[in-house]
Symmetry: C2
DNA sequence: AAGATACGTCAATATGGCTGTCCCATCTTC
DNA sequence: GAAGATGGGACAGCCATATTGACGTATCTT
């Protein structure tokens, strides 16, 4: 299917058309992303199932841990899901005592989300699984590779959303 | 929650404990993976919805395109889902004339999967969306970064599965 | 006072996983 | 050639997670 891989194609100077890279390089990235991402999250999934939760619960826990006192609307933007979907998840987490809310002080319509002590402990446990996997990959690849890893992934995020992601990481740019 | 970010922690020589990296670096990777992966697949998702398919259909199409005459069992291993789940997807694809099967020649119990012409055309269209996104990110990051990107992702895949992924890419090693 | 906003909730629907069970055709082994 | 293992398919039912649309309430803004 299109662009057969040829050992000599590189002599066509890849830099000439950087936006139309060899199919193989793109497929490689797609596949590594797919397998890498799913394998990283596998250990987390197992922990979640043991506690009767799913991935959606983890995502909520994760970002609430990351930004305590996050209003619901902000979490909705981060997750790009509907109010209804998030509602169910938050109700589950609140029912198990992992998340609590308080009214916003400046705007009392807002509910600010934060983890309870149990919630924080659970999130930390889940995070440990992520750390174990990613740390090993980072260490095996080396710091330079990690930088490249970040750079490419940043490039996958559309301009208008990149700022939001960077803000999470305390990198106002 | 563990390991507060301190500006001076780097003076503890990060190479000393490469398996226990700073929390921030791990969280950064997790977040970039999450947002990068979902944003890359967004454009594909839209195309799929227009045609009445979901992500599961794309995954099947993708790997069948990648390895024509793939037996069902091989696809099951790649996708790590159950026979029943895959069965539904393959029936959908066959019903719409995108996938066809033939009996294996060495083992006639096998059904070898391949795309029809329409299937190949559709897969190519979906792939273009991936290429557009990834190529731009590759180009913006530069070849060195791309290598690092690959290296880290490879490290996320457990030893015993890495070979399978490499085989997809015609890299018997 | 009117309207917009933040949040919640009810109801219905779709997707894509899962388990368990049973079946058939074919290959392998003895 | 019979017994068992394997590749594939199918039925039934369940669960998690997402969707849309409609509506309600409290609070903020104008």
């Amino acid at each position: 299917m299109a662009v057969p891989s040829s050992p000599s194609i590189e002599t066509f100077s890849p830099a000439a058309s950087p936006l139309f890279l060899r199919e193989d390089e793109v497929r490689r990235g797609v596949e590594l992303l797919f397998f890498g991402y799913t394998r990283l999250t596998r250990s987390v999934d197992e922990l979640l199932v043991e506690h009767g939760f799913g991935r959606a619960h983890h995502r909520a826990l994760y970002f609430i841990a990351r930004q305590p006192d996050l209003p619901v609307s902000a979490l909705l933007k981060i997750l790009s899901i509907t109010k209804q979907s998030l509602g169910r998840v938050l109700n589950d987490l609140a029912a198990k005592g992992l998340v609590e809310t308080k009214a916003g002080e400046v705007d009392r319509r807002q509910k600010l989300l934060r983890l309870t002590e149990e919630g924080a402990a659970f999130e930390a446990q889940l995070f440990e699984a992520l750390r174990t996997g990613l740390s090993a990959a980072y260490a095996a690849a080396g710091q330079e590779s990690v930088t490249g890893f970040w750079r490419v992934l940043e490039g996958l995020i559309p301009e208008d959303e990149r700022q939001m992601v960077m803000n999470l990481q305390g990198r106002g740019r």
